[in-house]
């Protein structure tokens, strides 16, 4: 009986020592993560991590992007891979939640030791991931996060798409110059950085070009009833309604706008790009316009080859996000090929030097802010189909 307190103390010491040792090991591990990643790349495969919203309310964003990346990797591996090594993709689902995206990217870097990260689609989730990738100095290429803040997180963060100012500007130019409109109303999603960014830059350019924003109303993502805002908008008789939100709400907004008697076209950005848009919105979406990264009707041979290859594997035509995923993967591969070795610093430098890469979403040049400079297309929704309308250059 007397011995037990002694044993207890002894046990405690053992536990304490083990704990502190393992803690020390953990800290050491994370410090060396980027080094380990390079060592891992010295094997016969190159691991690349992908974080996307495969499920959740924006599920089609993640799955389309994944299909695009998947196609790119299959094609590269069929041609012998990169520097004689095969590419392997590790995909993580963040369910559309920023906190899950942060956990996923940490796991990919510290446990899977990936050489680079592809993702996310949504700016809010890329913003959660970017500081982590930057901290471990692992290059991260986002296919389609258009909020300017994303690449401002550090010099390891890149994107292959244009940024919100440009999309807002494109739609403002399109409204003022192509459609010759003077009076436009805005209905923005105040919970969404992307939507607010587009609305602000639209307003700036549109007023500069001589137009007036007659009404600026707001909603929160997740709302289902917009009739009150639309009643206020109808009172101002706009010639078009700019709704820079995600397809989840835009379909309902279009329906309710038509019910409220607003017959004018709706304008939007790449957040509309989903088959669910016309499924939910139905005929109410017809005659509306949105800016996007690419059109599958583009006659350029590389685009048509991509569309054919994608259809062969996935059975459907690629949407814009699939094309962006494909380009993000291809730009990363291109940088790995040009880089002298697979150390993360060298991949980063090669990415930053990307110039005139002929992607399926246009020629991609990475500027000093690590953003892609490229043209945008405007699509028209005609009878439920997305038709190519025009290309607007930077």
């Amino acid at each position: 009986m007397k011995i037990s307190p002694v044993l207890n103390t002894f046990t405690r010491v053992v536990i304490a020592t083990t704990l502190s040792l393992s803690l020390a090991a953990c800290t050491k591990k994370s410090n060396n993560a980027s080094q380990d990643a390079t060592q891992n790349a010295a094997g016969d495969t190159i691991l690349v991590g992908e974080v996307g919203s495969m499920t959740g309310s924006e599920g089609t964003f993640g799955t389309s992007t994944h299909n695009g990346i998947d196609l790119a990797f299959k094609q590269i591996n069929a041609k012998g891979g990169v520097k004689g090594k095969k590419l392997a993709l590790i995909s993580m689902d963040d369910q559309g939640k920023p906190e899950e995206a942060a956990t996923a990217v940490t796991k990919l870097i510290t446990q899977n030791k990936v050489a680079a990260i592809l993702g996310e689609v949504a700016s809010s989730r890329s913003l959660a991931m970017a500081p982590i990738a930057q901290q471990y100095k692992i290059p991260m290429v986002t296919p389609s996060s258009t909020n300017p803040k994303v690449t401002e997180q550090g010099d390891y963060i890149f994107r292959v798409c244009f940024i919100d100012p440009f999309q807002g500007t494109v739609m403002a130019k399109f409204a003022a110059q192509n459609l010759k409109l003077k009076r436009v109303a805005i209905l923005r999603d105040v919970k969404n950085d992307y939507s607010v960014g587009l609305a602000d830059f639209f307003t700036a350019t549109f007023t500069q070009l001589g137009g007036t924003v007659v009404e600026d109303q707001a909603y929160s993502s997740g709302d289902t009833d917009f009739k009150t805002q639309l009643t206020n908008i109808k009172g101002k008789n706009p010639e078009a309604l700019m709704v820079p939100g995600y397809y989840t709400e835009v379909g309902l907004i279009a329906r309710q706008a038509r019910e409220a008697g607003i017959k004018v076209p709706l304008l939007g950005g790449d957040g509309w790009d989903s088959p669910k848009l016309t499924e939910i919105g139905g005929v109410a979406m017809n005659g509306s316009f949105f800016s996007n990264h690419y059109s599958q009707e583009d006659k350029a041979p590389n685009v048509q080859t991509f569309v054919e290859d994608y259809k062969k594997i996935h059975g459907v035509a690629p949407d814009g996000l699939a094309a962006m995923g494909y380009d993000a993967a291809m730009v990363l591969v291109d940088a790995m090929n040009r880089s002298p070795d697979l150390a993360s610093g060298n991949i980063r430098a090669a990415l930053a030097a990307t110039k005139d890469y002929p992607g399926v979403t246009g020629r991609i040049t990475i500027n000093e802010k690590r953003d892609a400079v490229k043209s945008a297309v405007v699509l028209n929704i005609d009878n439920g189909q997305f038709k190519y309308q025009t290309t607007i250059n930077p």
Partner: protein
């Protein structure tokens, strides 16, 4: 001025969707003094049963009033079965436990259904087939009415009347009121208490199922988490009208709908969801019995 009346119409139309959900909520509370937080999820299940059954029968391509009535019936039966199962499996074993245990279980059932829904249906939004499309718009002096929402408004008034009749004019209703008054005494008088409680749950859940189909028809985007906010709003509406009071629930829901429309129209759209809970807090502070509640006298 036309805009003002349009806001009133919009507010009433949102309010009548809350009313449909609030009816079942308030009835279950009236009989059992149990706040069934899973009610919003039964509403969600109603919408999904409606969606899958109309896809199965191809009603989306051939819209008609009969199609709507058929899927309404299916959703109501499906939800009644769900309500029965929830009560039998989650609440009945706790009949003799303190009320707080049942309340926490209700929250648990609600979360369980939300996340099972995500697993089963997938969490991306689904399109609800337009099984019934009344033609054209109705306008009155520049104010527009969506015919569907007029129908929903009428249905919620009719359901309210039916509920009142069931509760105050039938044998089952009398048994419900007896159980509500005193469980033990009711069973001593030969009332099958458990059966009466099951009926109450099935009736309330069937109402939620009907609400799911009708809301899905008006806002044709449904997802497994769609029940959370409307469920809470309906709860606030029920408390506002005096929880346990059927007429109060409808009046409370319409008041809440109107208040929301005015806040969005003249103040800030982002304040819409906060408003409901400010109303809840104010009611609990200053008139805990609600607009129509008088302590234990008009309890259903």
């Amino acid at each position: 001025m036309i805009e003002f009346f349009q806001h009133v119409v919009n507010g009433i139309s949102v309010g009548s969707t809350y009313a449909l959900i609030a009816l079942g909520y308030t009835m279950v509370f009236g009989i059992l003094q149990l706040i069934n937080f899973a009610h919003g999820e039964v509403f969600m299940l109603g919408a999904f049963i409606g969606m899958y059954s109309s896809r199965y029968f191809g009603f989306g391509e051939h819209p008609s009033l009969w199609a709507l009535l058929a899927i309404l019936a299916l959703a109501m039966v499906g939800c009644a079965i769900m309500g029965f199962l929830i009560e039998r499996l989650a609440y009945r074993p706790l009949r003799r436990s303190p009320r707080i245990n049942v309340l926490i279980t209700a929250v648990g059932v609600s979360l369980f259904l939300q996340f099972s829904g995500q697993l089963l249906f997938g969490s991306d939004p689904k399109f609800f087939p337009q099984v019934f499309q009344p033609s054209g718009d109705w306008t009155l002096g520049g104010v527009r009415f969506n015919p569907l929402q007029v129908i929903v408004f009428c249905i919620s008034i009719v359901l309210m009347a039916i509920l009142q009749t069931i509760i105050f004019r039938t044998r089952l209703g009398r048994a419900m009121r007896a159980v509500s008054f005193n469980h033990d005494l009711a069973s001593l008088m030969g009332i099958p208490t458990n059966a009466v409680i099951s009926y109450t749950f099935m009736l309330g859940s069937a109402l939620a199922g009907a609400a799911g189909v009708l809301v899905g028809l008006i806002y044709p985007k449904i997802e497994p988490l769609m029940g959370t906010m409307p469920g809470l709003k309906a709860f606030v509406a029920a408390v506002l009208g005096g929880i346990g009071n059927v007429t109060g629930a409808v009046v409370g829901a319409l008041t809440l709908g109107l208040a929301e429309a005015f806040v969005v129209a003249y103040y800030a759209p982002t304040f819409r969801d906060a408003l409901a809970f400010i109303i809840l807090i104010l009611i609990l502070l200053f008139k805990p019995t609600g607009l129509f509640g008088t302590r234990r006298t008009e309890k259903v």
